[in-house]
């Protein structure tokens, strides 16, 4: 394939956004009879921070390994800066991959680990010893591990090892950075600390970054755009705000946060759920639907107000929030209220009405 056949940088100059750098089209990959990826297409812009989000078995790690060149797709195309990426062997792709369990070289010091990518270059391209040392020192500073260059990986904490792996990947000046569950093996405290730091690092390094996670909070918090995968297919691609505010389907809605679901009917622009009728959301499907709402996006009203008839079965304070367990249409829902939103005199046995503030409507599915 001629390398300059697709001038991707010029395809959408009108938008003013940075040009596309990564284009994945129709990538499929099966392991034996198990289809790990099923015709996934997505794009990432230059210097973008893209999250691949999905439950385990969704194919997100397989897609990352395809980008790294560690898996060969059965079908599809991957282009990077217009170049056919799949025809470039792994070791010439210049992708910085950070593995979930870091995969550090245990017999090498931290500095030797970081310098590895430079030291395996052909002699002509290899930087001089002092240049390598300078680069290692810079990277150690970047990942805040100054003075630890002489340690062995076994002498470091999990978070430190993770940063060594990152520095090692950055040392080769990668065209693209790939992170597989970068915080997966760390405890919650360290995760949150490293998250902001990683975002900061990405912004400074200015490298297109793709990272895999199963943690929706992490993806929404960190990424410029989130690709949500399930069963080897792309369900939705968008900014964290877009996907959270406007999930493409019930799976995405459910996966991105706590969800309440009730059956309803849309007719003539009106949505009816049990004894509650309201204006149907824009572009709601007609007929039988599933109505989704977030447990913290509800308004409580007295029994004579508007909303779904509900009976309180339990109340528990949780910090500034109050968790109100309600029976609606014979189903138990755990709702949340805070501050002035807390209904007065709420206690088990109280009957009231619950009005979802931003219901999302999807065509009804027969199965659960």
């Amino acid at each position: 394939m001629p390398e300059n056949s697709l001038p991707t940088a010029d395809t959408d100059p009108a938008k003013g956004a940075s040009p596309l750098s990564l284009e994945i089209s129709g990538v499929s990959k099966s392991f034996g009879r198990f289809p790990a990826l099923n015709g996934v297409s997505l794009q990432a812009r230059d210097k973008e921070f893209l999250a691949l989000l999905g439950p385990s078995g969704s194919g997100k790690t397989t897609l990352l390994r395809v980008l790294a060149g560690l898996e060969r797709p059965d079908a599809g195309e991957v282009r990077f800066d217009g170049e056919d990426f799949l025809s470039i062997p792994v070791r010439r792709r210049k992708v910085g991959m950070v593995f979930q369990h870091y995969a550090l070289f245990r017999h090498m010091t931290v500095a030797q680990n970081i310098a590895f990518g430079l030291s395996v270059r052909p002699r002509r391209e290899r930087p001089s010893k002092s240049d390598v040392a300078d680069r290692v020192a810079d990277l150690l500073k970047l990942v805040q591990l100054e003075g630890l260059g002489g340690r062995f990986p076994a002498q470091l904490s999990g978070g430190q090892r993770q940063r060594v792996a990152l520095a090692r990947a950055l040392a080769i000046e990668p065209r693209m950075l790939l992170l597989d569950e970068p915080f997966g093996a760390l405890d919650a405290q360290v995760r949150r600390e490293l998250r902001r730091w990683l975002r900061d690092l990405h912004d400074r390094a200015g490298v297109t970054t793709v990272f895999v996670t199963h943690d929706q909070e992490e993806a929404l918090d960190l990424a410029d755009r989130v690709a949500i995968l399930k069963d080897g297919t792309l369900r939705q691609l968008g900014t964290p705000n877009e996907v959270y505010e406007n999930p493409a389907d019930p799976f995405v809605y459910d996966f991105l946060g706590a969800a309440c679901r009730l059956p309803g009917v849309v007719e003539d622009g009106r949505l009816t759920v049990a004894d509650w009728e309201t204006k149907a959301p824009k572009d709601a499907p007609q007929g039988r639907v599933d109505v989704f709402f977030r447990p913290n996006e509800v308004m409580f009203a007295p029994l004579d107000g508007a909303g779904l008839a509900a009976e309180v079965t339990a109340v528990a304070a949780r910090g500034p929030d109050v968790r109100i367990e309600c029976l609606i249409e014979g189903k138990t829902f755990e709702l949340e209220a805070r501050g002035p939103g807390i209904p007065s005199g709420v206690a088990p046995g109280l009957s009231l009405r619950v009005k979802p503030l931003r219901p999302k409507v999807y065509p009804a599915r027969v199965d659960a």
């Binding site: 560690l70 590895f116 395996v120």
Partner: protein, 290 residues
């Protein structure tokens, strides 16, 4: 008061501050059996060996060991054992690599073959080796044509020692190669390493400690090897006579103290080399694990 009674009373047990407290009962009893068993089985014979030569007096021991025939035998045994173990190192790595990294028909049979030198009675191995390396044997005749004497020469001894040492090296390496994290190699590849660089810089160093342990086992076994060597060696005093054989010869001529002196020298050299090898191994292992 019995040992159990002392253990049963916690106040008395505290009288032994050097013993780390354990919830498992029976420390005194099990340590006692351990010490007694090791004492009878291992230490006592060694002590006897260490004492025996001195009935010759210090000068006598020196005289017994300084004899050219003895020195030649010790040099031959330890020198060829070391050489054989060192040859087995690269070949053992290659074999272990082939057996763990590739899938091919007959792999399991090859894998079983590696154990054969372990399993074969040494005398049987000796006869087999002699049969093919003797001047009228298949390989021996071939070598003789190009002017190389295999059996009844130091080369023959070397071949026998390589033969018996091989499984030690291969079997020490195989589990490590098998459990080597695949992601580490993938990481090296994404960083730009070619397959040779991966093998030399990533995989081999990870094998270091177990390779050394395999080499030391092969060496220790080769030093003490008797059965498979005596047939192929030719046993010419001062030329192809190994130290264990010299001990037997001395015993047969009722020179018990002299035999014990050679034995003691072997123990001392073996022990010294094993300590050195273990130290090296510890150093390598510490780098990786800490």
């Amino acid at each position: 008061m019995t040992a159990q009674a002392i253990l049963a009373s916690p106040t008395k047990a505290r009288r032994r501050p050097w013993v780390q407290h354990s919830i498992l009962p029976g420390f005194g009893l099990s340590l006692g059996i351990t010490l007694a068993y090791l004492g009878v089985i291992v230490v006592l014979p060694l002590v006897a060996l260490a004492i025996r030569p001195w009935e010759l007096g210090p000068a006598g021991v020196f005289h017994a060991l300084a004899a050219p025939r003895v020195l030649a035998a010790l040099k031959l045994s330890f020198g060829l054992s070391a050489l054989a173990a060192l040859l087995n190192a690269p070949l053992g790595v290659l074999l272990a690599w082939t057996l763990t990294r590739y899938q091919f028909p007959g792999r399991r049979i090859l894998d079983a073959l590696v154990d054969l030198p372990f399993a074969l009675p040494t005398a049987v191995a000796g006869i087999a080796l002699t049969a093919i390396y003797a001047p009228n044997g298949a390989l021996g005749a071939l070598a003789a044509k190009v002017g190389i004497k295999t059996a009844y020469s130091p080369l023959g001894i070397f071949i026998a020692l390589v033969f018996i040492g091989l499984p030690f090296v291969v079997r020490s390496l195989q589990p490590v190669l098998q459990e080597l994290d695949h992601e580490v190699e993938e990481a090296a590849t994404t960083l730009g390493a070619n397959s040779l660089q991966r093998a030399v810089r990533v995989i081999l160093p990870a094998l270091g400690p177990s390779l050394i342990s395999g080499i030391s086992l092969a060496f220790a076994r080769a030093v003490g090897e008797y059965g498979s060597v005596v047939f192929i060696a030719g046993n010419l005093p001062g030329k192809t006579e190994i130290a264990p054989l010299l001990i037997v010869i001395k015993l047969e001529s009722y020179d018990y103290a002299g035999a014990a002196a050679v034995g003691l020298a072997m123990v001392a050299i073996s022990f010294g080399s094993l300590v050195a090898i273990n130290g090296l191994q510890l150093m390598l292992a510490r780098r990786g694990r800490a």
